[in-house]
């Protein structure tokens, strides 16, 4: 609120010499990267190379051992909740309540994010193909349907930075196509996408960069 710049300025995510140590082993060291609006960064690497850990660090859910993550030039540790406001994070876990219906889950997200809009909710459900199951408790949804519900958060309201950990898990072909389209639109609208995935082709349309771990 006191630095309105960061929500209005052009999105820009930087890693500066980010290092992470887990247990006795160095996961990664001296990671540097400068992502501008419209860019897609795909984090790749074999299992256990630290992709998920890096994403959590970028989201501010974990701290790097040395180095820093900057958003529009500000250290995200200092930005705090302000930084949370500019990102969507979808991790290995879906982050949905199994005892609420699909619709209730999304409505809650909206309220949490601060913009209630029934129309946006309906169109998000429609987009991810859950209109028919919107009234079902999430517990009854299949693995792929739950993942779709988690991804529906992305289109509920705008956030310039998307951090996605294996977003395509459990999705069928139609779901993958849908998701790729969402991503393309987001980068076309000058957003930034960082995702970890083992897919060969993620079909980004803007400038696409790769970060290989290990």
């Amino acid at each position: 609120m006191n630095t309105p710049s960061i929500s209005s300025a052009a999105p820009r995510l930087e890693m500066r010499a980010v290092q992470c140590i887990r247990g006795a082993s160095l996961l990664f060291d001296n990671l540097n990267c400068d992502l501008q609006s419209g860019e897609t960064l795909q984090i790749r690497g074999p299992n256990g190379s630290g992709k998920s850990t890096l994403l959590r660090i970028l989201a501010g859910l974990a701290q790097p051992d040395t180095g820093a993550v900057l958003w529009c030039g500000n250290d995200v540790r200092e930005l705090g909740p302000e930084f949370s406001a500019v990102l969507h994070y979808v991790g290995h876990h879906n982050g949905i309540k199994l005892d609420l219906t699909a619709r209730e889950n999304l409505a809650f997200c909206q309220e949490l994010l601060g913009n209630v809009d029934a129309e946006a909710l309906n169109s998000a459900l429609e987009r991810v193909g859950l209109t028919a199951s919107a009234g079902n408790r999430a517990r009854r949804l299949s693995a792929g349907q739950r993942r779709r519900l988690a991804l529906a958060r992305l289109i509920l309201c705008h956030a310039p930075l998307w951090l996605l950990d294996e977003p395509l898990t459990s999705l069928d072909n139609e779901g993958r196509a849908l998701f790729k389209e969402l991503m393309q639109r987001h980068t076309a609208a000058s957003g930034i996408v960082v995702l970890a995935t083992h897919e060969a082709d993620i079909g980004a349309n803007g400038p696409q960069r790769e970060l290989r771990l290990k």
């Binding site: 406001a85 994070y89 982050g95 949905i96 209730e104 949490l112 994010l113």
Partner: protein, 224 residues
């Protein structure tokens, strides 16, 4: 304001989840009544003994019921990843945690009050004990919820956190217990209970100002 709305959303969601498991909602209550009725079983139906231990049993059981229900404040949210979403929400975490505490109190604290009064009747406590029972419960249960939230945040995601939590929390509850039982005892002996009530109010104010911040900090630590 959007912060207020987010808090309301958290509150509404938690209440909804609570109500959706109607069984779960009634459970702490029934548990409370069962445990409290175990004692007469064990002690025998000797009325004077029952009246002596009555206030203590009622309060200790209220404390246990409150403790048992703490586990669910954050546990489920942690398991399904919604806790991360909460932390990444665009609002101050303190307020959201406060809303969760309030929901917990409404779901688990408030129902204890009528249950305790009913038990007081069953234990044949004198009528003079009822008002102090009521007022101490209304002051004490929010302290339980507030302190409990902070410690639940601290232990979230630890295996066996249920019992660990109970272990951490019970010592913190003891002051509330002592003063509340003392108040009821005083009232039964015709003494003033103002001192105890002041003390409990002070504890409540302290908990209100400190605990949500502690809880928010603990959550950030545990998930960091």
């Amino acid at each position: 304001m959007s912060a207020a709305r987010a808090c309301k959303a958290v509150l509404r969601r938690d209440l909804l989840l609570g109500l959706r498991h109607r069984a779960e909602l009634a459970n702490p209550l029934v548990f409370y009544v069962i445990v409290a009725s175990l004692f007469p079983f064990a002690v025998g139906s000797d009325t004077p003994t029952l009246a002596i231990i009555g206030p203590s049993v009622i309060w200790v059981c209220a404390l246990l019921a409150a403790t048992l229900s703490l586990d669910r404040i954050f546990h489920a949210d942690f398991d399904d990843g919604t806790l991360e979403q909460l932390i990444l929400a665009r609002q101050p975490l303190v307020l959201l945690v406060g809303a969760k505490t309030l929901a917990h109190w409404l779901l688990c604290g408030v129902p204890l009050v009528p249950a305790a009064l009913a038990l007081a009747v069953l234990y044949q406590l004198p009528a003079t004990a009822l008002w102090p029972m009521l007022s101490t419960l209304l002051l004490g249960t929010p302290v339980f919820s507030l302190t409990g939230t902070a410690l639940a945040a601290l232990t979230v995601g630890l295996s066996g956190s249920g019992v660990l939590l109970a272990l951490l929390i019970l010592p913190l509850y003891i002051p509330v217990l002592i003063f509340s039982v003392a108040a009821v005892g005083n009232a039964m002996n015709g003494l003033s209970i103002a001192g105890e009530l002041y003390f409990l109010s002070a504890l409540l104010v302290l908990a209100l100002t400190v605990m949500p911040f502690a809880a928010a900090a603990a959550l950030r630590i545990r998930l960091g």
